[in-house]
Structure formats: structure tokens, C-alpha cells
């Protein structure tokens, strides 16, 4: 297995979520005082309860594998010979209601990632978390990270205040495109709305299941609002989406577009074509039965070899042992998923400081 994976680019790993106090070391006096005086001790999102089975694979939890870069590298990069791993921070900046607080934490979080992870291992790359509560502050954060080539992506959560295709968010896409950042949309909610259009589910299991529904919405929004018409070089990566929901949703969206396309006249190609050109998905989790026959049919449904990006989703418990690739992939497709597709998706990955 390790030979097969050698040189792969892992497009989704998660450093252990830092505490507010840890982040406060990267803040100015005002915000450091805020954390201290107001007693902000923990701030975990219910999208990833720290002790939930899914949040950390048992062996990785036991080893504290996500607590520092050297340990993480031992479990993944060193062990399999990955060329790079992209760090996606899940501290819930997006949940705050105060955009100033969000901007302060986003900036500290990205500084923390650079200092505590990216500085420690040159194979690690980063996603800059955006304080999405404010488009203006998000653009400032993009500009702040643009000079650091180790940041290859800007990161948002799949469920926030509004669908992400709306024109209010376009300055973010303009800035991302200008600087060659890929736009990452990761599972998780700001919980500024009920988690579903029918209210709040009871169980964590349902919450995680519902994340894929957020991806339906965002994909529909990005396509129908015309983001890819306006920003033809933009690449969007759907991270930790589950993957197999995509073809059925696209069939539906394309069918309705054919029926009511006069509503969105700027969309002059089928939604499926925009998605194949602009949207990529990380491989874990991959919601499918283990049989190669099923997976072969699902790959055929995708109608593209360019869309999947390898990811372990470390340390989330998506697979056991080394069983991280779906069964039955051809060597050519495997190579695209492991290496080539990521290189084509992340223009900043090839840049060096």
C-alpha cells in the first residue's frame, strides 16, 4: 500500500483544535484580555464533539496523533510517503455572532497554524480560515495570507448564514482568484440556522449525515448564481462531503435547469459542465459499500476522472488500517486521484517561498 500512496497529496487533515487561550497568544492585548477577562475557556463546535467516535480514530486518539506535526507525520506523511498534506483548522470561528471576534480569532488561528504546524514541516500546507461573518474582513484575511505560499486554500464551512453563491460573497472569490487560492468548503455548520430546513435533528449521527445536504445547497447556489461564469479560473473543493450524493443531485439540478433555465439566463451550459470544470471533492468519507462493482458504477456516474482528490481526513475515523482508497480503481485513475488532480486544483501548491 505504501508504494501506491508514495507522493500522494492528502487534501484534508485536521490539527487538534486549539483552545481559545492557546490562540490568545497570537492576539493583540485587547483580544488577549477579552479571552482572559470574559473567561472564554472552551469553544468546540458540536459538528465535531471531541470525544465522539468519528472525531478521532481510536489508535490516533490514543497516540494523540493530531496534537503536533511530528506525531501526525508519523501516522501519515512518513508512513505512506505523502508529498504534502493540507491542514484544515476546525476551530469554530464561523459560529461567532460578533464579526470582530470572528476576525480576531480567524487571524490568530491562521497565525497559529503557520507557527505551530507549517513552520515545523515543509510538507504541510495550510488553509486560511475566513471570518465569513464579514465579507470585508474575509477579503482582508485573504490579502494577509497571499504572500505566504504555504497557504494554498481559503476555508469556509458548508453551512453558514447564506448560500455561498450569493453576490455578497463575490469579493471573496475575486480575491481568491486573484491570488491563486483554491476555495475550500468543509463540512460543519455555523449553526446560525436550524441545521436542516425542517429544524434541528436530535442525534449527532443525524447532524453529520446532514452535512452532505449543505453541500447540495452550496453547489446549487455557486452554479445557479453564476459564480463560475464570473470567476472562470476559480476552483472549489468540497471537503468531507461524502462524494456519492453528487451525481444524483446533479441529475436533478440539470433537469430543473433545463426546465426553468430562463430564470438564470447567465447559466448557458448544463450545471454538470460547470461542476466538472470547477468543483473537486475530497475522497474521505466515501459513502459507498465496499464492493468494487458498486464503486465502478459510482465512478462511472461521476463522468469525470478529474474531480476526486485524495484525502485521509486524519484524524477523523473514516477508515480502518490503511484502507483509505475505494476498491477497484484503475492505476491510471488512482494516480490522478492521489497526485495529478490535486496539482491541477491547487495552483499555489507548486509555489515556494
Amino acid at each position: 500500500m505504501s508504494d501506491i500512496l508514495s507522493g500522494a497529496i492528502d487534501c484534508d487533515i485536521h490539527p487538534r483544535v486549539p483552545t481559545p487561550r492557546t490562540l490568545s497568544r497570537y492576539m493583540d492585548d485587547h483580544w488577549r484580555d477579552t479571552v482572559e477577562v470574559r473567561g472564554i475557556e472552551t469553544w468546540d463546535s458540536i459538528s465535531y464533539p471531541p470525544n465522539a467516535p468519528l472525531t478521532s480514530r481510536p489508535d490516533w486518539r490514543k497516540a494523540g496523533a493530531d496534537t503536533e506535526p511530528a506525531k501526525a507525520a508519523r501516522e501519515t506523511l512518513d508512513r505512506f510517503g505523502f508529498a504534502h498534506a493540507i491542514c484544515n483548522s476546525l476551530f469554530p470561528v464561523q459560529c461567532f455572532r460578533d464579526e470582530n471576534l470572528a476576525a480576531a480569532f480567524a487571524r490568530a488561528l491562521n497565525d497559529w497554524l503557520a507557527a505551530e504546524w507549517l513552520d515545523k514541516d515543509s510538507r504541510l500546507k495550510g488553509s486560511a480560515v475566513l471570518p465569513i461573518q464579514s465579507v470585508e474582513r474575509s477579503v482582508e484575511e485573504i490579502e494577509r495570507r497571499a504572500g505566504d505560499p504555504r497557504f494554498v486554500q481559503v476555508l469556509m464551512l458548508v453551512m453558514g448564514e447564506h448560500p455561498l453563491g450569493k453576490s455578497m460573497y463575490w469579493p471573496i472569490y475575486a480575491a481568491a482568484e486573484r491570488h491563486g487560492f483554491t476555495v475550500g468548503i468543509h463540512a460543519g455548520s455555523s449553526y446560525h440556522h436550524a441545521l436542516t430546513g425542517s429544524g434541528w435533528p436530535t442525534y449527532y449521527l443525524e447532524d453529520y449525515a446532514a452535512q452532505s445536504l449543505g453541500f447540495h445547497t452550496q453547489l446549487g447556489s455557486l452554479v445557479c448564481e453564476g459564480v463560475f461564469v464570473k470567476y472562470p479560473k476559480l476552483k472549489v473543493v468540497l471537503i468531507e462531503s461524502g462524494v456519492t450524493w453528487l451525481p444524483p443531485y446533479l441529475w436533478r439540478l440539470a433537469k430543473f435547469w433545463r426546465g426553468v433555465r430562463n430564470e438564470v439566463p447567465w447559466i448557458d451550459r448544463s450545471p454538470e459542465e460547470y461542476v466538472r470544470d470547477h468543483v473537486r471533492l475530497t475522497l474521505q468519507p466515501f459513502d459507498a459499500p465496499p464492493s468494487a462493482a458498486h464503486i465502478g458504477r459510482i465512478m462511472d456516474q461521476l463522468q469525470s476522472d478529474d474531480m476526486l482528490l485524495f484525502a485521509t481526513d486524519f484524524p477523523h475515523w473514516q477508515f480502518d488500517g490503511d484502507d483509505m482508497l475505494p476498491a477497484g480503481l484503475s492505476p491510471a485513475l488512482r494516480r490522478k486521484i492521489l497526485i495529478d488532480n490535486a496539482i491541477a486544483t491547487y495552483p499555489r501548491l507548486g509555489r515556494h517561498s
Binding site: T196, S198, A209, T217, P247, H294
Partner: protein
């Protein structure tokens, strides 16, 4: 399964399928989604008490939408086929003679299962009014459609958020063979597996009635977990998400453990999403079993046993074999044909299915499965 089966003769688009006797000899079709309409509010008023008639006149319908019309204007007036407007006036779906000639007779429909939308009490803010409206709409379905036309079977509309009234309404209607299902919408105040709705499921199970869960409704939340999309194409494309929320909730809350004879029919959300959702839930169940100890089996097993799904709007990938794969994965005995007559995205029972669908499978979907799930006696 056979992916390369020849085009079934009955599905040949060139054949003359429109002559009634020939169609009826061919196949008796059961349609899981037909929408009746009021000619005018006057039709409904005669079934309301003076108190609620007056309320309707003065305050009107106030739903959890903030406006009298849909937030996403439809593609056509009332989202209806342009050819379904009765010449004598009234709305599509309101003229029984036209329903007969344009649809029931023309296609050889044995049964059409009604699902009233619009002013029917589903999402009213005033819960007492909601209960009164649902009773009125159920009486109206019986008097205007099911009684004069035995091929049409009514759905018992219930005041979803007023459980007590919903149960009373099921009890009031259940013994009448005019009704073939309980009818609810998928966008609710809580996900549909929530305990507050369990008395409705208990009543449906007690009377052997399936519950049809149709897309639409407004439960007081943004239509998605990330706010309101801008366009109708997004809302329409996204209906499968409210269906997935409902199925997830029903299964994970343990509704089918509690009500082992309950049958649920998901309507108008398409069907291709079902396998991916089942796989996702099974994986999560494996990880988080300790959170849901009330579940004795894998989520996919509850889905396979308790949930039926209608085929409209038919999935149309570029490669039609992909639909056949999906149908195979769902299970051929769980798919039900639906036309959505008289709406604009109507599926023609002889033309909607993908080429290559084996004849026997088509027969199951068009007829046999509906006979097994609905109370048609």
C-alpha cells in the same frame, strides 16, 4: 440485473398509447401523486364552520412564510401544465371531467392517489384553524373527487404541528375507503422522526394507512441549513434534501422500531439520492451505535423495509443506465410511479422511464408496488 435489455414494447414512444381501451388492456396504472385543486375558495367554505369561514374571510391563510404566495415564483401559473386549464374556468386539477379525459382515461389509470397542496391546512400558524382547514380539505376531496370518481383516492391531510388534531382527523376519516393514505409535507417544524409526531404514526399504523410525505411545506425555518437560496431552480433541485432529512430522522429516531408495521411513501423528491443516503447512514451507524442504542438494525434495513419512493420527477442522467443501477440498489419493489398531474413537470407513465427498463420491472413500478402499499379496498 440486465442493463442492456431491449426497449420494452409498452414503453415504445412511437406506439399509439393514447387510446383508452388499448391502454387499459395493457396495464392498470397506480399513480402515487395527483394534485386536486379548488375551483375557488368557495368550494372549501361549505366544509368550514361559520367561525372558521369568517376567520378565513377576514384574516386569510397565514403560513410560516410571511407572504401569501410562494417565496420562489413557479415556472408557470400555479406550476401547472398550460394544457391542464379547464376551458370552463377554474384551476388545473379542479375539473373532474378534464382530469378524466386528459389523464385517467387517456392513460388507463386504475387509481390516482390525491395529495392536496396550497390552502389545505398544512403549515398554518393558527393551529386551530389548521385543524379546521384539514378537515374541510379532506371532506372536499371525498365529495368532489373520491365519491364521484372511484379511481381517485383521497389522502388524509393532517395538521402536522397540532398532533392531537391530526390524530383525531385520522380517526375521523380512517374507516372511509375513500382515503388511501395519510398525507404530510416534508418541511416541518421538527424533523419528521421527532417524538411529537409519533401519535400520528401510531394512528396511521393502527389503521393500516401508509403515510405519504410530499415535498414542500414550511416549518418556520430557512429552507436549507445555510439559509435561503435565491432561485426556484435551487428550491426545486433541493427538494431531495428535505426528503433526506425526513428519512434520516424517521430511521435514526427509531420510528420503525416503535411502529414496525408503518409504511412511508416519499413523494416528488426524486429517488436517486436514496442509495447514497443509505450507505452514509450505515457507516455513521457503525461508528456511533452507542448514541442510538434503540436501533436494532442497520439504517439501510429500516429504509429497505419501511420506505417506498415515487419516481417523479424521473431522474435523467446523460447515461440512462445510471438510473437502472439506482433502481436496482433501492429495490424494484419499493419504487412507485407518480405523474404529479397536473403540474408542469408531469411524468408520462409511458414515456418517463429510461430506455432499457425491463418490462416486468416497469409493470411492478407502474402497478404492482402501489397495490401493495396503498389501502385501495
Amino acid at each position: 440485473m440486465t442493463l442492456d435489455a431491449p426497449l420494452a414494447p409498452e414503453l415504445d414512444a412511437d406506439a399509439d398509447l393514447r387510446s383508452a381501451p388499448a391502454a387499459q388492456a395493457r396495464l392498470k396504472i397506480i399513480d402515487g401523486d395527483v394534485h386536486p385543486a379548488l375551483r375557488s375558495v368557495g368550494d372549501l367554505k361549505r366544509f368550514l364552520s361559520p367561525r372558521w369561514r369568517e376567520h378565513l374571510e377576514i384574516y386569510g391563510s397565514r403560513r410560516k412564510l410571511g407572504m401569501s404566495y410562494e417565496p420562489y415564483p413557479k415556472s408557470a401559473p400555479r406550476a401547472c401544465r398550460r394544457d391542464a386549464w379547464p376551458e370552463g374556468g377554474g384551476y388545473p386539477g379542479s375539473d373532474l371531467d378534464l382530469i378524466r379525459s386528459q389523464y385517467l382515461d387517456a392513460y388507463g389509470i386504475e387509481y390516482g392517489i390525491l395529495g392536496p397542496l396550497g390552502l389545505s391546512g398544512h403549515s398554518e400558524l393558527n393551529q386551530e384553524f389548521s385543524a379546521a382547514l384539514t378537515s374541510a380539505i379532506n371532506d372536499w376531496q371525498r365529495e368532489f373527487f373520491a365519491k364521484p370518481e372511484p379511481r381517485l383516492k383521497a389522502g388524509i391531510v393532517v395538521a402536522t404541528e397540532n398532533t392531537e388534531a391530526a390524530v383525531a382527523e385520522i380517526e375521523r376519516c380512517a374507516d372511509d375507503p375513500a382515503y388511501a393514505q395519510v398525507f404530510m409535507l416534508t418541511r416541518t417544524s421538527e424533523p419528521l422522526g421527532n417524538r411529537r409526531y409519533w401519535p400520528i404514526y401510531a394512528a396511521a399504523e393502527r389503521h393500516g394507512l401508509p403515510i405519504g410525505m410530499h415535498v414542500f411545506g414550511s416549518g418556520g425555518h430557512a429552507y436549507t441549513g445555510t439559509g435561503w437560496p435565491s432561485y426556484y431552480v435551487e428550491e426545486a433541485g433541493g427538494h431531495s434534501t428535505s426528503c433526506q432529512t425526513a428519512v434520516t430522522s424517521l430511521v435514526i429516531e427509531g420510528v420503525f422500531e416503535r411502529f414496525p408495521r408503518l409504511k412511508v411513501v416519499m413523494i416528488e423528491g426524486g429517488f436517486a439520492w436514496m442509495p447514497a443516503l443509505s450507505w452514509r447512514l450505515d457507516k455513521l451507524f457503525e461508528r456511533m451505535r452507542s448514541e442510538v442504542p434503540h436501533l436494532k438494525r442497520k439504517p439501510s434495513e429500516y429504509i429497505r423495509e419501511h420506505i417506498w419512493i415515487t419516481t417523479q420527477p424521473m431522474e435523467e442522467p446523460e447515461d440512462r443506465r445510471h438510473v437502472l443501477d439506482i433502481m436496482e440498489w433501492i429495490g424494484w419493489d419499493r419504487l412507485l410511479f407518480a405523474s404529479d398531474y397536473p403540474h408542469w413537470d408531469f411524468d408520462d407513465p409511458f414515456r418517463a422511464f429510461p430506455a432499457g427498463l425491463p418490462k416486468e420491472r416497469a409493470r411492478q413500478i407502474l402497478s404492482g408496488n402501489g397495490r401493495a402499499v396503498y389501502r385501495l379496498a
